[in-house]
Symmetry: C2
Subunit: 152 residues, 2 copies
DNA sequence: TATTGTTATACTCTATAACTATA
DNA sequence: TATAGTTATAGAGTATAACAATA
């Protein structure tokens, strides 16, 4: 393999990784598309991204918007939907009456936990394609790639 | 490092990779979000996914829908938008007058090529975070992970 | 005045159902 | 009848601008 690249570089490691990243992102996009409207679990991706931070405790609307990377009105709308399903509560903050405190209900915690377990199971399935040594290498590489992507 | 796992497995390679996959997908999601409404380049992600197959030649509406993983009416609507911008043409197929043939215009090919180059440049930036040997390893791992994700 | 949240409005992407034209 | 495409309709997710309440 390496000898083919000793005199020329028609397929440099850099170019191969660039291509592999394309394939990987494509695969992730398609998987995401398959899961995006996943109302089977009763929880859309956008709702999940708002619900997830609530797993660690109550948050204001502004905080949720920031954590989910969406605008405040969008957060309001998504929380409206979660309220309709009884997954969250929204009450005025007694210490700052401009703000609202959004919290998970018991039902909501159940739905969130169920979804989180599904996602963990899916990631484990992916991880299981590699042997233990490869898993260790892959974890390190993915962490570094994630850091670079964040900085982009 | 390995000795810590010799007697117990609180952080097995599998669990570490599962976590790393979470971080990586999160980073990719945020990057995607930043680019999704990217009308700066004048080309939304959905439009790009329809335009891309046209780079290899004309396609019917049904083919485009299938390749982009969307319904036929959605493809029609997106093609409507691309027509408005003068990036594609849509003419009746002479051999089967139920069908339409959608093709890139010169302007459209320019926009597509420009976007493709942007994406390649971004993936190269990511690849450049690793040294050549790591790039080779990473390419192989990502290809295998992509295959698993597709099968999920 | 500045901040927090909501309402009003609008646009994109998405789908299903109904319809037209052609095979 | 079956297929290709479009139109009609609906709903989620997204944003910005305007507004109300509170700090």
């Amino acid at each position: 393999m390496a000898e083919r690249r000793s005199t020329q570089a028609p397929h440099s490691a850099r170019a191969e990784l660039t291509d592999a990243l394309y394939d990987f992102f494509q695969a992730a996009r398609r998987a995401r598309g398959r899961a995006a409207g996943d109302m089977a679990g009763g929880l859309s991706l956008a709702q999940y991204h708002v619900l997830e931070p609530l797993g660690k405790g109550p948050r204001t609307n502004r905080e949720l918007a920031e954590l989910a990377g969406i605008s405040a009105p969008t957060a309001t709308r998504i929380v409206d939907g979660l309220l309709d399903r009884g997954w969250v509560s929204r009450v005025a903050d007694p210490t700052d009456r401009r703000a609202v405190v959004i919290s998970l209900t018991e039902t909501g915690r159940g739905a969130l936990t169920k979804k989180q377990r599904e996602y963990v199971a899916r990631r484990r399935q992916i991880a299981d394609a590699l042997d233990p040594h490869e898993q260790e290498v892959a974890a390190g590489l993915l962490r570094r790639l994630a850091a670079v992507i964040e900085e982009l």
